[in-house]
Symmetry: D3
Subunit: 230 residues, 6 copies
Amino acid sequence: MAPIWHGKKMAETQKTILIINPNSNQAVTDGISNAVDAFRLSGGPKIECMTLAEGPFGVESQADVDSVALPLSRVVTERDDVDAFVIACYSDPGIHACREATDKPVFGIQESAMLAAASLGDRFGVLAIADASIKRHLRYLRQLGLIERLANERPINLSVAETAGGDATFDRLEEVGALLRDQDRADVVVLGCAGMARYRKRLQDSLGLPVVDPCQAAATLALGAVLLNG
Amino acid sequence: MAPIWHGKKMAETQKTILIINPNSNQAVTDGISNAVDAFRLSGGPKIECMTLAEGPFGVESQADVDSVALPLSRVVTERDDVDAFVIACYSDPGIHACREATDKPVFGIQESAMLAAASLGDRFGVLAIADASIKRHLRYLRQLGLIERLANERPINLSVAETAGGDATFDRLEEVGALLRDQDRADVVVLGCAGMARYRKRLQDSLGLPVVDPCQAAATLALGAVLLNG
Amino acid sequence: MAPIWHGKKMAETQKTILIINPNSNQAVTDGISNAVDAFRLSGGPKIECMTLAEGPFGVESQADVDSVALPLSRVVTERDDVDAFVIACYSDPGIHACREATDKPVFGIQESAMLAAASLGDRFGVLAIADASIKRHLRYLRQLGLIERLANERPINLSVAETAGGDATFDRLEEVGALLRDQDRADVVVLGCAGMARYRKRLQDSLGLPVVDPCQAAATLALGAVLLNG
Amino acid sequence: MAPIWHGKKMAETQKTILIINPNSNQAVTDGISNAVDAFRLSGGPKIECMTLAEGPFGVESQADVDSVALPLSRVVTERDDVDAFVIACYSDPGIHACREATDKPVFGIQESAMLAAASLGDRFGVLAIADASIKRHLRYLRQLGLIERLANERPINLSVAETAGGDATFDRLEEVGALLRDQDRADVVVLGCAGMARYRKRLQDSLGLPVVDPCQAAATLALGAVLLNG
Amino acid sequence: MAPIWHGKKMAETQKTILIINPNSNQAVTDGISNAVDAFRLSGGPKIECMTLAEGPFGVESQADVDSVALPLSRVVTERDDVDAFVIACYSDPGIHACREATDKPVFGIQESAMLAAASLGDRFGVLAIADASIKRHLRYLRQLGLIERLANERPINLSVAETAGGDATFDRLEEVGALLRDQDRADVVVLGCAGMARYRKRLQDSLGLPVVDPCQAAATLALGAVLLNG
Amino acid sequence: MAPIWHGKKMAETQKTILIINPNSNQAVTDGISNAVDAFRLSGGPKIECMTLAEGPFGVESQADVDSVALPLSRVVTERDDVDAFVIACYSDPGIHACREATDKPVFGIQESAMLAAASLGDRFGVLAIADASIKRHLRYLRQLGLIERLANERPINLSVAETAGGDATFDRLEEVGALLRDQDRADVVVLGCAGMARYRKRLQDSLGLPVVDPCQAAATLALGAVLLNG
């Protein structure tokens, strides 16, 4: 029964990375899953993306951020089949509660994006969705002790109407990204949101600078951790 | 009906500071109320201390911290009769959610203690209850951008048995405070906990350095804000 | 003789905050006294404002700053009836000499304003009277270890003619304050001068951000210190 | 001839990570290759480890570091079949020259280790081989803008005789690692050398803290970069 | 034979500062020699300027920088008649290798210029030859721990045609220097290149700010070191 | 009358550095003059050392520091025959007032010592005369933006009796200097006082590290400035 035994062993030993989208928008989760598809390798860990049922439809305010901390740490506690966790919201909600809840590695996507950016350039620029989140991000960057590496963070501030209009989002990313590059001297650019991975490669080619998607950055660190410690 | 009208007006216009103890231990709330009694002045704002019913009995873990963020912001939203809020737990739980929930000033006691200490000395030492909280405090101090002013933070690490033994807590505060003063060159000492105000004056006299109680530090800032903007 | 004794005891035990205007312009002292009037509470400490006879008519240069250090420390030494001192010039002249001269707390208004601002927002903008003082302020902010919290400092650079023209000063504060808010991402604004308290509330309402008057910020800290240690 | 074509396509499209050991000690290269073996996944990039023929037998001095910069950048230029490079010496020799020589990502193992450590703990401790290298590392950490996250760096300073003695190296890593954890408050430990990966897991279990091997940290970042941009 | 002996003793005891131009352009070396001519005093050390034969014609890239590290350290090792060395390229190539190679002081001109500027003003502005070098300079300034003193670095970005046109270089230095002074609040300006000393005095007079030539700054430190330790 | 005219011209054009000892102890001035004797070169500027008549016998307190600021700036204003000034007290009293009073360069000895140390090593240790001054020095070092380069500052705390006892001062400098080197990882040591130059060379030889005398460091910078701008 070698095949069966082998099959069971395979099933038992395949490691799992769980990426949790803290908002309850399944379309965002699907986008994240697409973004990390390149990391699903035969012989590598399974990468599962889940939508947090308790999450708000979007995590926009600090209250939204705080509302998901305990639900996230509960998932982390309950899923003992998982080998590494990713919190896939750019505010890194509940990151410290989750790390307290488990000895397994937990990665926040903002933190991971900053660290990845620091390996790809000297000064990073960040493209924020909206002005309102920048204050929160700067505060967090001070906490990370990485503020000296920030070139600038600029908002794209798209209205819903603009977002709807086909390439409007990309055009705006390109326009603001060029300001980060030319006026702020960023030599690497970070997408400051969990849902823009589909623009990453195109923006990278257009700007001529490395562009970091935060979910991919966190998936990279999770992959490394799981391969080593799983 | 001048006296009555005048009396009503007085009642209507007296400002209110609400100090919220995020844990559900009424004895702690009572201690905080005692600690800020000196700030209750005729002609000044009312200072009300409340116990957060939803809070854990003690706020010790990050999960505890995160668990009170939304309950605190709900209180802040609901109590529109209040002119300034104080979150009376040294981890400053929910501080950003509360600030988002209201335009009125919200003070955290750790933040306030650091700022008060910075006005009373050049380098502050912090007396933490336990080793485990120091990591959280250092991270927060980096976020505040005040890390250059920290001399050191040292734990008193008292066992329950030791705490029970009469002056054991004070003796330990004195002993560790002397290390902050003599080995770390602190010239002001912060009590890193909401419940040690009763030792403040005595420790100050013993160490020969200003000692800051965090609830009193926050009450000071709240008093100033209310007197100016109430 | 209980009433008499009681009366004397009252007189003896009322605490005193002394705010020293280091320039010899009595009109400035009067403005400061008005600015802190809200802190004069029945049951609270007496707040006395004095003009430093030896001071220059205005403290504008470093020589002016240095010229008042020893006169200020003499006042601090001589006034042993005082429980807390405020040096009411934005350059915080003689602050270290005064602190050396007494064990009582001494507050500088720039330092106090920075600390108050740090409790009301994440990044503070400063409105300086003139370009020439900004270099001195930045140097001092580095000394305070608070430079990471500075959004920017901008001068209003009003000519005498402009100042004379009614609302010109307020208009300029509003205009430059809006730049601090919109271009520099300040979320709290500091009036970088001892004599602009009368514009504070109006500017705060106009900008939609907390505005800090430095004399009021120092009076707040002094009030707290006196109530606790007096 | 589909299979042949398919086979060629496979060969053509498999991505390659090249890890260059800048010293000429093949045993070190072999150890590095073992250290990153977990990253060799079916469907993933090929991970090739090469010994730099021009390198010194060990990179110990600054002259050693500088001597390999141009040979390394020549390899980077010549190997246009490679998708990402790792410089596998803890001094990150030639890192900027290599980055200048190619648009492909180049990772240094010290830089990568610091960034990985920052994702696994709040303050990292570093275990250096010898006292002499610490000065160089601290200088580099300032350059990286990460000095606020350093708990301490301590040397193990093993003599040759001690190294020879079986478990002496591990015992010393354990002993000095415990100092980093207990005296310096490190909550993650970095092996400050390319050749100690075999102790990582055991040290991690013994200290109860995450332990980072720098080659594995760089391989992780390289793997992520190749999977995304290859 | 007193005169002869005396003469020999004089010859033997005159100290020597060796300024090494790491590029092989003799005209640059001649310009440096002119720049430091004011430091050649009777009774003072001999100041010798040499062209590094192995150097590239200009040091423009990181590869150029790295290519001269070992040749420079060889010079430092071989010239045991020298009492202090200056590496006269603004990238401070090989500075750490040279310091390792000798116990005599070795000064880099960028480092020296930053330190001199810090003694002449509060915030320094730097005039870079080209945009491409600014990233390298900022990285180095972080390494030096001096980034808080930087007002800004701006490129003059002159084309060859412009450089050829008589006063074009000076005009551009003046124009960009004025931006450093007026927009960035620099109160001292550094010439970010080894070959612009001839504009220093004129630019200083025009801008009304101290202007630092890096070769002269390093020669100053070398002169001091030799007079004291020679 | 060419020779006479030439002689007069010589006299007229010889530049002058004025080193002002802000205390009124002529023996200290004499020691400083000895310390900088190596900088008196034929063909170089005259170096004059003066005792400030208005100064206290020793500058020990902040009041002492502040008391000499205006007398120093008066000297700077009056001595228009001087080309560069040095304030020869380790607290750099009056440095900003003096800089305001003249366009000529003014060097403080603490500032100069820090900058010189930064050119001779990576992390500097400071030998303070007494514990009490360290707080003032650390505050100043933060102002200078150089705190990242400080290894530690340690007091020698010699009693008068010990100082009297022959080699006691040197022995103590050696003992505390060794702690700076071995425990704090300083690779350059600064004498934190104007009056210890006579121990510099001997201490340097004993510790095997560069040792910086602050008066000599400032004289170096003054010499450079005068030779260039005189």
